[in-house]
Symmetry: C2
Subunit: 490 residues, 2 copies
């Protein structure tokens, strides 16, 4: 009885599943298609690249379809197809690097291979395969070993691979054919045709420049840093209207920078192969991007540590928080603005050091204010050292972050010179910059007892002339990039 | 007169350089050779791999040299050479991944290609190239697009490439030949021969296992962390005989961990392709290594920040340093020992959680001592908060490092269970562990007022029974991995 019931239940379940199957299948397929669509929309260049590869393949097929072309190249046309498939990379730099490596390696290895076959023929019928075998073994092993050297690996890895390939193929097949020169010529010419088609399609049909990607990536990483700092401020000193969830997603943005080194290295390496394009000249200082990226990553390391404190449930006494809140808040806000200005300067390729320096000055002033706040905190009211440790550490790391923002700004300043960025127009004409100055009118560098003289000399900063002979005004003058502010009240 | 003198000077300089040229050339060549020798000695597996590639190439050349083999495969033998060159990777996992990808992709694409050619022949002489062109364009573009998907990119990127290659070649050359099935069969069989040679040589001639490399890399990274911590202790609390230069080179060891993520990911990905080998089974938990590696990297981030304070010239008041010196010193030393024990446990594949836990306990006790030291510091003797900020931050980061060491230990503990590590022999028999216990006989967990109850419950720790009914002894008992120490004096 029970078994029968079980069987009935099972049957009903099976029928139910059978009925649901088409619906589930449809849902699954729809979901997949939507995923693919979203993936394509996220970066439409992927779709364009796929179509470009299809185009190159169709073009190179003409070597077979068109009778006169087939007559001159014959089955060697397949080397052209092979070249197109292998050389078609996403970026122009990748395609150029692979295409040139393949072309030159084939040329050199083909010549060596023909030479090896001629040399081996002197050794008689029995000696020939032995001599050829020794050649193939030793050159193959040597070229493989060379691929381990970092310099060769970085730029000529593919060339070394093709060298081994072509040399082995020419030397070995030379044993069975007398038309070795014809073969080598056909192989080289078809590879040139395939490579040329790829390079032309890559450069002239919606090109993707590795250099431009690197440029944008660095700027975006700086923006991510800025957003994380902004999010941190909103998280820890919540004064704005943003919800905690919103700011938390911002705080996490720096995460991707922690491990972006390999991508940056690859892009910088490919960018070197690219000709001048857009506003990037042939000898654009690509390696300088890596220096800036290194500093940005250092900054991200600090944010990672800071984030650990934000996420932890350690409670800092409210009176201590309220004491450091204002300077810390200003520090992160101004550093964030500085980063945004730096990123904008990179994106628009226009120098804007005055504006950046002003923000950095403000955040450095906030550091001094923080120091004063910490110094003047009387020991009686201080709860105890143990409780405020997390707060002190947080503030200390924030100070380090501001220092790194200054280093980033200096590195970008050096870079903008090398990369021939345009100067920004006269600030008096630019309404935007005027607004910045207005914002900074009140920025005061506090003087702290015991502040060492070296610290004051370390960078351009706001100078306060208290005993100025002129009457105190709020007018501003810029002297060679250093903002000189005269403030009547200290 | 002056011009004549100039010319004479120039001539003398030129002769001098001409004389020096052979010496310089010889020096340069000798230097290069020495560099190459050193490079080979650093990792002799590189030389072995190069010879293995040479061997595979020589073996595959037999398809041309041996008459019966050449008769059956003909010029298709070059596909075998091509396969050997392209599939020969440094690790077994790499070779297997490429070989299997190439084999299966050729099989599928070859079948589809033959089908496409047969379909196209129905469309008449004029329609055939058009239909073939549409096939090649659309499948080429679709397969290229699929390579962008992270999952496919990670494991089947090479397979997708070979799919495009084979399909295009079969479909396009099918237009000009009637023996398409023979061609497809020859191509597939030669690729199988080449791939098999590569895989056999890779596995049976001095194999390099990606899994083993990953395993060693993680253990070495943990040792690097330990050395850096040790170096940091020597640098900041110099009590040992090591010179500052020696310790500084140790401190820097963690640097390589900061950016090792991509290498780890690649190795873990390749390790999955490998069959069981040595003490690694087929379903070894390779992904767990990445979890441990992530925690190790987090620890390295903290060391990077700590290193910033070590390198900076900020001076911390001597009396504050002397106050925190002992606990900080113990914290880093014990954490360092714990890391070394963890690394040893991974390297030897033996569980050793008792010993590791004891070290972690000691460093956690030192944290409590540090807290007491900070708490009992009377405000009068405290110079001022401003001056001790770097010291407080350093200590705070050190505490975080100890926490991460504990997390690493937990992750490794979980991993050792999954990876079937051997249990260490009974501690009473092991003389080494006995020594450890001797070292920890005096470890005391201080009780701090205001210490929250949650903190005490967070992990196994040393329990001090002051009012024990038994007379105070120094004997030790281990209760389920938690070291229970009875100490008479608190």
């Amino acid at each position: 009885m029970e078994m029968e019931l079980n069987a009935q239940v099972k049957k009903a379940g099976f029928l139910q599943r059978l009925k649901e199957f088409p619906i589930k299948l449809k849902d699954g397929v729809t979901k997949r298609i939507k995923n693919v669509q979203k993936f394509g929309k996220d970066d439409p260049r992927r779709i364009i690249h796929s179509l470009k590869v299809g185009l190159s393949l169709t073009l190179v097929s003409m070597l077979y379809y068109v009778r006169p072309l087939y007559n001159s190249f014959g089955v060697s046309g397949m080397w052209a197809i092979l070249t197109v498939v292998v050389v078609s990379e996403f970026t122009v730099g990748g395609t150029l690097s692979k295409g040139l490596n393949r072309g030159f390696a084939t040329l050199i290895a083909g010549a060596l291979g023909v030479g090896a076959v001629h040399l081996a023929r002197f050794c008689g019928d029995k000696g020939e395969p032995i001599v050829l075998g020794i050649f193939v073994f030793s050159l193959g092993a040597a070229a493989t070993f060379s691929r381990f050297f970092p310099r060769i690996k970085q730029r000529y890895d593919y060339g070394a691979l093709i060298f081994i390939l072509t040399f082995s193929m020419v030397a070995v097949s030379g044993y069975r054919t007398d038309e070795i020169l014809v073969m080598a010529y056909q192989r080289l010419s078809t590879i040139l045709i395939g490579g040329t088609i790829c390079i032309l399609v890559s450069i002239f049909v919606f090109p993707v420049w590795a250099g431009e990607d690197l440029h944008k990536m660095i700027a975006n990483n700086i923006i991510k840093l800025a957003n994380s700092l902004e999010g941190f401020e909103g998280e820890y000193f919540p004064s704005s209207e943003k919800t905690s969830k919103e700011t938390n997603s911002c705080v996490q943005q720096y995460k991707s920078i922690l491990t972006s080194k390999s991508t940056e290295d690859i892009l910088a390496n490919l960018a070197r192969w690219e000709p001048g394009h857009g506003r990037f000249r042939l000898r654009h200082p690509w390696t300088k991007y890596l220096k800036i990226a290194g500093l940005v990553r250092q900054c991200a390391f600090h944010l990672e540590i800071l984030n650990g404190y934000v996420l932890s449930d350690v409670k800092i006494p409210q009176d201590f928080i309220s004491k450091i809140q204002e300077p810390c808040s200003i520090m992160s806000r101004e550093a964030c603005e500085a980063l945004k200005a730096i990123a904008k300067s990179i994106k628009t390729m226009k120098r804007d050091s005055v504006c950046v320096n002003a923000y950095i000055e403000n955040s450095k002033n906030a550091i001094q204010n923080l120091r004063i706040a910490l110094k003047t905190s009387s020991p009686e009211t201080e709860k105890d050292l143990l409780e405020i440790i997390p707060g002190v550490t947080m503030a200390s790391i924030l100070i380090e972050i501001v220092n790194y923002v200054e280093k980033i700004s200096e590195a970008v300043e050096e870079f903008t010179g090398l990369a021939h960025f345009k100067e920004t127009p006269d600030p008096k004409v630019s309404p935007e910059l005027g607004q910045h100055q207005l914002l900074h009118r009140g920025s005061v560098k506090p003087v702290l007892e015991g502040d060492s003289e070296e610290e004051n000399n370390s960078s351009p900063h706001v100078v306060i002339n208290v005993h100025d002979e002129q009457p105190p005004t709020t007018s501003e003058k810029k002297v060679s990039g250093v903002q000189k502010t005269r403030v009547g009240v200290v």
